[in-house]
Every structure is written in structure tokens, then in C-alpha cells.
């Protein structure tokens, strides 16, 4: 049996459930254990049902688990929803002021909070006190944690926690003595890793319109960006965001935008604009279940086909998707850099399950790419923005300059002046097509596919599902070769076609199997072994392990 300890805390939105999860994570991090936190919340502000799952292990860990050792229910609904998720030997603690139950341990979390202001907002402190007790900590440790994490109204929080400590200790003290781990680095949300990767990669300006699950990137960059000289702008619409970004790139700023599927749909006209202008812009597309407004606060992988085909007309673009939080840091910087190297729009395709999940990562900022285009060094005659080179890449120049620099949305000649003549039209198409080939050439020289393990069946997966698959293999003790294409367009056919004839298991979160179709389309590799989840929830490792076993 693996050493995985899982803590679930559930309650209403507004009761600080996510915060409890974060504090639980920090306590498990204090034990140097690897962490994975998944926040499940609804599209509402108060009420409803939220929960946070924090799994931790002394060993590698890339997913939350839903079989929990300790479950704390702040309201009755949580009890009904989570009681069946209790692992053998696990403990369920509930708020006895709002419900009663036969199993589990009731604690009067609300009434104990009544002496203090806003008792409803304090129950989160109870939940993490319970965890601390169960992990065998003393009150001194708990005080330290509260000082660190619940600074506001510190005194009352400590007093309240002491009462909960006293009530919980008799039944729970030291129930789950956990092994220390060797985890390194920081617990980071995907959204933070992406933001930091963009900063490390040289980002100057970020534009967005709020949209779950991409908003945390906007919020992070708005709050933290200025320290690094990075500015985040919340504009009137995604249409404006994308057009402003292309303008910003024209002026020489490293520019990224972020959104989810619906917002990206509004950006596709400007995505094509970036294609013809050869504008370096990074588009961050964080998916949620679609179509349309769909299910805003949950996860799915059904924007792949759209991302790859987006924008009218023929033009090169790069689409890649990170498999882990750490990979999202590097890949964001890489895609910003590739946008500049190849003067093409790039898409970081990711999902709620990555942007809004938190796990350990040890990104090394000095190893991040730094966005840099090929700059104009002078050539015969006047500057030509769209000089037809062999690579298809024309040297860049930004204003102010004594040269005239013309970027155009119309088909244009080398200078950038409009043309409707057949020769120049075809020449520009050829130039951009050569750029596509240069991109392919470049990708052949870098790691475009990650392969984990060897032997056993071949499993194809990508994006945040990669984390689920890896954890499922650990959980189920399954030997397999996991193939994760990081780059999806241009597709690394040269890497993936090795697995021809393997009848791979394809794991993804799309009802139509967009990823499986892409593989078939690009490599001809077909399969009759599909695992698809499309109910908005990420895969659960034990369940997924079973599904894999059923197929092999």
C-alpha cells in the first residue's frame, strides 16, 4: 500500500473551504510531503457545496485521491456527499451544530465560534485544527500555523482553535502519524506557475477579460506583476483583449492573453490577424466543460480541435499543453519564446484541473526560455517587414525607428503594402508555409513528447490528464508506457509514430475523443481502447487504475 494521506474538507461557499485546503496543504508541506490539492467549487459566491481535497505522500504524487483518511464536514450536505469517500480506518468529523449523525465525530464548530465575531467564517479554523490534532501536533504548532495563515483577528482564532483542540484531542490526537517526505520546492497552483513562467520568460503586458478558469492568472499578474515590471489589464471584452495584444506585440512588448473557450472564440478573428501580421502573441486557453457557457468551474479537454483549427485562412501556429504544474512554468516561457522566434501566435492549452490545482513544483527560473525574436540588422535598401527569407522568418524591428515598419491584416508585399496581385499573394503564402516548416524543424530538435515508464501497454494522454494517468499507475501498481505529446500542433509525428501498432489506450476528457482523433489524423494510429471522462470531474486515480486494468 502506498503512503497516501488524503484530507477532505467540505462546506458552503463562503465558509473558507479552499483556504482550509491551502492551510492543510501547508501543514503537510511542513512535513516535506508531496502534495496535490484539488478545489471543487460551483459557480456561485455563497452557499452551495464546495470542497477541497488535499492528498499527500512521502513519495511522488500527481493527483488528489478521493478515498480520504480524514473528512471534515462543515455542513450537512458535505456529510451526505462525502461520507462514502472515507477510506478504511478513516475518520469523519462533522459540525454537530448543524447536523447529527451516527457515524463520525461531531464537534460543535459553530457554537464554539459564537463568542467571536462572524462565527460562520471561523469554522475553517476548526477544520484545520482537527487535521493538526489528527496528525499529532500540539497547540503550539497550531498557533504557529494560525499566525501564518489566519492573521486577521488572530487572537480570536487562536482562542477558538484551542477550544476545538481540547474537544478533538481525546478522540483524534495523533490518529494519523505521517512519515516525513523529501518534497522540495513550493506548492504552486497551475495558474501561479503559468504566471511565473510568463514573467520568467520576459512577459511585459498581459491582457484579459475575467473568465473561469483563467481568471486566477489575471488576478495573479495584476497583484504580483508590477513588482517585476509586468502589467495586467482587464479590458472591455476578449475581442478587445486580442486586438490590443497584437498592437502591443507590434510595439515590441512581450504580450500574452488568457481566457477560456468562450473568450477564445471571440479572439479567433484576431488570432488570424496575428497569423497574417506574423505577430508574436501567446494565447493562454484554460478549458472548462463546453460547449458554450457550459460548466464554468469544472474541467474538460474539449477545446483541442478548436485551438488547432482556429482562425480563418492558412497560417502557422503552435499549440502545446502542459502535463504538470511544473511543466506549465517552462512551457509558458517556451511558448512565449517560440511566438517571438517564429513570429506566430502560440497557444498554451490547459484545463481547470491544472490552472486551479495545486502541487509541489521546483521550477528553476534561470532555465526558463527568454522570448527573443530575430532582430533586423540592416539589409540592402529600406527595411522590409515581410522580407521573403528561406526560413520564412523576416527580421523584426519595432518603432521608434527611422525605418518605416508596416504590419498589415491585408495580404501584402514584402514592405507590408496591400496587394491583390497573384504573384505576391502566392509568395506570402509560400513564405508563411516555409515558416511552418521551420517550426517543425525546430520542434524536431527539442523535447515535444514525454514518455514515462516502459513496457506494458502504451497509454496516450495529454494535458492535465497526464497527472491523473501517472497517479493511477502508481495507485494500481500498473506497468505501462505513458506517451504524452506536449506539442499538439505541429504534431510531433516523428516521435509518436513509433507507437504504431501498439493499440494504445487513449485517456482524455472529451466525449468525442478529440485527442484520439488527432492521433489518428496525424499518425494513422488507431485504437479501440478509449477511456473518456466528460462529467466535468478530473479522473480519480483508483477509478482510472481500474478502468485501465479492465482494458489490459
Amino acid at each position: 500500500m502506498r503512503d497516501v494521506f488524503t484530507f477532505i474538507v467540505g462546506g458552503k461557499a463562503g465558509e473558507g473551504v479552499k483556504k482550509s485546503g491551502l492551510v492543510a496543504s501547508s501543514m503537510l508541506a511542513d512535513l516535506d510531503r508531496n502534495l496535490f490539492q484539488m478545489d471543487d467549487y460551483q459557480s456561485l459566491i455563497r452557499g452551495g457545496h464546495n470542497f477541497a481535497v488535499v492528498s499527500s505522500s512521502a513519495d511522488a504524487l500527481t493527483s488528489h485521491h478521493l478515498l480520504a483518511q480524514l473528512i471534515v464536514c462543515l455542513d450537512e450536505r458535505s456529510y451526505h456527499l462525502h461520507r462514502h469517500e472515507l477510506a478504511e480506518g478513516g475518520v469523519l468529523v462533522y459540525n454537530s451544530d448543524v447536523m447529527s449523525a451516527e457515524d463520525g465525530i461531531g464537534l460543535p464548530m459553530t457554537s464554539e465560534a459564537r463568542p467571536y465575531p462572524r462565527p460562520d467564517l471561523r469554522v475553517g479554523v476548526a477544520s484545520i485544527t482537527v487535521l493538526a490534532v489528527a496528525l499529532g501536533h500540539d497547540m503550539a504548532y497550531i498557533e504557529k500555523v494560525i499566525e501564518r495563515e489566519y492573521k486577521r483577528d488572530l487572537e480570536h482564532n487562536v482562542a477558538y482553535a484551542s477550544r476545538i483542540f481540547e474537544l478533538a484531542a481525546p478522540t483524534l490526537a495523533g490518529r494519523f502519524p505521517l512519515a516525513r517526505g523529501h518534497a522540495q520546492g513550493k506548492a504552486l497552483y497551475g495558474s501561479e506557475a503559468i504566471s511565473l513562467g510568463a514573467i520568467a520568460g520576459g512577459l511585459d503586458l498581459y491582457m484579459a477579460y475575467p473568465m473561469t478558469p483563467s481568471s486566477p492568472i489575471l488576478h495573479y499578474l495584476a497583484a504580483e506583476g508590477p513588482k517585476y515590471g509586468v502589467h495586467a489589464l482587464h479590458l472591455e471584452s476578449e475581442v478587445s483583449v486580442a486586438n490590443m495584444a497584437v498592437g502591443s506585440a507590434f510595439a515590441g512588448a512581450r504580450t500574452a492573453v488568457g481566457t477560456s473557450g468562450g473568450g477564445f472564440a471571440l479572439m479567433t478573428e484576431a488570432f488570424s490577424l496575428a497569423g497574417i501580421m506574423e505577430a508574436p502573441v501567446l494565447f493562454i486557453l484554460a478549458s472548462r466543460p463546453g460547449p458554450s457557457t457550459g460548466v464554468p468551474t469544472y474541467t474538460e479537454q474539449a477545446d483541442l480541435k478548436f485551438a488547432i483549427g482556429a482562425g480563418h485562412g492558412d497560417f502557422p501556429r503552435i499549440v502545446a499543453s502542459p502535463g504538470t504544474v511544473e511543466e506549465s512554468f517552462y512551457l509558458t516561457a517556451d511558448l512565449l519564446d517560440l511566438a517571438w522566434r517564429f513570429q506566430s501566435p502560440t497557444i498554451l492549452l490547459t484545463e481547470k484541473h491544472l490552472t486551479e490545482s495545486c502541487m509541489n513544483a521546483t521550477p528553476d527560473a534561470a532555465r526558463a526560455a527568454w522570448a527573443q525574436g530575430e532582430m533586423y540588422q540592416g539589409h540592402e535598401g529600406d527595411y522590409k517587414r515581410y522580407l521573403c527569407t528561406e526560413s520564412g522568418v523576416s527580421p523584426l524591428l519595432h518603432p521608434p525607428s527611422s525605418e518605416v515598419i508596416k504590419w498589415s491584416s491585408y495580404e501584402h508585399d514584402e514592405v507590408g503594402i496591400t496587394t491583390d496581385e497573384p504573384g505576391p499573394i502566392a509568395a506570402m503564402h509560400d513564405k508563411r508555409q516555409r515558416k511552418h516548416e521551420s517550426i517543425v524543424e525546430h520542434l524536431r530538435g527539442i523535447r515535444t513528447v514525454s514518455v514515462f515508464g516502459d513496457g506494458g501497454p502504451v497509454i496516450f494522454t495529454y494535458g492535465s490528464s497526464t497527472m491523473s494517468v501517472l497517479e493511477a499507475l502508481r495507485t494500481g501498481g500498473i506497468q505501462a508506457t505513458v506517451v504524452q505529446p506536449i506539442y499538439l500542433e505541429p504534431f510531433p509525428v516523428w516521435e509518436v509514430e513509433r507507437y504504431r501498432g501498439s493499440n494504445p489506450i487513449v485517456v482524455e476528457q472529451s466525449v468525442s475523443g478529440q485527442f484520439a482523433n488527432l492521433i489518428r489524423e496525424q499518425t494513422g494510429i488507431t485504437s479501440d481502447r478509449h477511456i473518456r471522462r466528460y462529467d466535468g470531474r478530473p479522473f480519480e486515480p483508483s477509478e482510472l487504475a481500474q478502468q485501465i486494468k479492465d482494458l489490459i
Binding site: G202, T255, T418
Partner: protein, 278 residues
């Protein structure tokens, strides 16, 4: 000094009001240089329509954006490098139809852009459909029996949403127009310049405008006065009709900083990230 014209063949109809706008702009550029705006800091941004051909006909650094969206791109340019001076040539369909929202937000933010609207009352390039400023009853190929919509009034609308500089020019008053362009570019904030531009093919307004246009020397000093001036029914006043001082958007955001100029080098930036991550 480079020629201001280009090798692109002019494709406007003979007699079109756009020629005067092009020539006024060519006259404005040296005046701007004299006023301290280096030509290399000037960026011409154009929308899509007959007006947009200003891009091809002018030998200046420029950005030929999307129909209706070039005002967003113009703001992106200014925000990336506030040292640049951005002039945005747009159409009435372009900026009050497809792109109305961006126009309004640029004004609301006081983004420092000189917006020059070629106001010809038609979608000229797409063969003469009505625009948001066309009078009710206008017949075009999409409204063969006349549009049933009432027009927007660009000047009062811009006043309403916070434009800090509002001017009107006329293709028939070239020198005056050139001077208005200079003022618009020099204005520290959002400058809206509505140019009465006869379209000889689809909406020939030369006579009306010649009859009604009147140069006004003094801008209105209050919004109420401005509104009265904008909506005079006897005459069409042209000139700077309203202006007020206000801090432009980029300065509200960054003060005097400039994201590109002030950027830390790679090592410093990455070291700072590393420190945070440690």
C-alpha cells in the same frame, strides 16, 4: 527626409473627400515634427474601409488592423510604449458600428490616441450600405427601401462617454483640417476628430457641407455648451469644439514608466523569480 507618399496606386474615386484627409495629414506631419513629435515616434493605425487606405498611401510606420478593432490595437501600441504617438484613421462604420464598444472604452479611459473618423455616412468599401450615422430612410443595398434606424450623433456620444478632446473637420477645409490633426495628436488624452468626408459615389454631401460648415475658433468650455454647439441645426461648426485636461490612461497606469524602456534584463528578471520561488 523620406517622402510621405508611397508607391501604392491611389484607389479612391476622383472627387472623394478622402484625398483631402490624406493631404491634410501629409501637411500635419511636418507641423507635428516642428512641434516636437519626431516622425519615428508617430504610428499610423488604420481600420478597414476606404479610410484605411491611408495606411498604404502614407510612408510611415503603421498598423493596418481589423475592421472595427483597430482602436484596440492602437491602445495596445500606446500601452506597450507610451513614447509613441498614435493616430488612428477609422471609418464611421468601422468605429461606430463593428467597433463602437472599443471607441467608447478608449474615450472612457482617456487613452492617448488621436482618432480621425472619416465620416462619410456609408460603408463605402462594401458598396454603400447605411452606417450608424446614416439618416433614417437612407437607401443602400442592405436597406433598399430605406433604413428604419435613427442615427447616432458621434459628437454628443463622445462627450457622454468622456472624450477629453472633441473636434470636427471637413474635407473642404484642408489647412484647417491639418491643424486639427496636429492638435489631436498633441492632445494628452483621447482626441476625437470627426471629419465630414463626402463620398461622391454613395453619399455626395459636398454641397450640403459647403453650405453649412462654419469654422469655430473657441471651443466650448462646459459640457452643456459643447452639447449645444455640437447640435446646432443652422450650421455645422468645425474646429476644436470641446477640450479638457485629464491624465491619459497610460500615465494613470504607470506614471512615467514605460514597460519596454524600463524592462529589467533577463538575468535580473529571472533572478527575481528565482528568489520568489526559493
Amino acid at each position: 527626409m523620406r517622402e510621405l507618399g508611397t508607391y501604392a496606386e491611389n484607389q479612391w474615386c476622383p472627387g472623394c473627400g478622402n484625398f483631402a484627409i490624406l493631404n491634410a495629414f501629409k501637411a500635419a506631419v511636418p507641423k507635428l515634427e516642428a512641434a516636437g513629435v519626431a516622425r519615428e515616434n508617430l504610428v499610423l493605425v488604420a481600420g478597414i474601409g476606404q479610410h484605411g487606405k491611408m495606411f498604404d498611401y502614407t510612408n510611415l510606420t503603421g498598423f493596418y488592423g481589423l475592421h472595427g478593432r483597430s482602436m484596440s490595437s492602437a491602445q495596445g501600441i500606446k500601452l506597450a510604449n507610451p513614447d509613441l504617438r498614435v493616430i488612428n484613421f477609422v471609418g464611421d462604420g468601422d468605429s461606430l458600428g463593428e467597433g463602437l464598444e472599443h471607441t467608447i472604452f478608449a474615450a472612457k479611459r482617456n487613452a492617448q490616441i488621436a482618432m480621425v473618423m472619416h465620416d462619410n455616412g456609408v460603408y463605402a468599401l462594401t458598396t454603400g450600405q447605411f452606417t450608424p450615422v446614416s439618416e433614417r430612410g437612407y437607401r443602400g443595398p442592405s436597406t433598399p427601401t430605406g433604413t428604419v434606424e435613427d442615427p447616432l450623433h458621434p459628437l454628443t456620444l463622445m462627450l457622454e462617454v468622456g472624450a477629453s478632446f472633441i473636434a470636427r473637420g471637413f474635407s473642404g477645409e484642408l489647412d484647417h483640417l491639418a491643424e486639427l490633426m496636429v492638435q489631436a495628436v498633441l492632445h494628452e488624452g483621447f482626441a476625437f476628430l470627426d471629419v465630414l468626408q463626402p463620398c461622391v459615389t454613395f453619399n455626395n454631401t459636398w454641397k450640403t457641407y459647403n453650405d453649412l460648415v462654419e469654422i469655430v475658433d473657441q471651443p466650448a468650455t462646459t459640457p452643456e455648451e459643447a452639447r449645444a454647439l455640437f447640435t446646432r441645426s443652422d450650421k455645422l461648426p468645425i474646429g476644436v469644439l470641446y477640450r479638457r485636461e485629464d491624465v491619459p490612461f497610460h500615465q494613470r497606469l504607470y506614471g512615467d514608466a514605460n514597460p519596454i524602456r524600463d524592462k529589467a534584463p533577463r538575468e535580473a528578471r529571472q533572478a527575481q523569480v528565482a528568489t520568489y520561488l526559493a
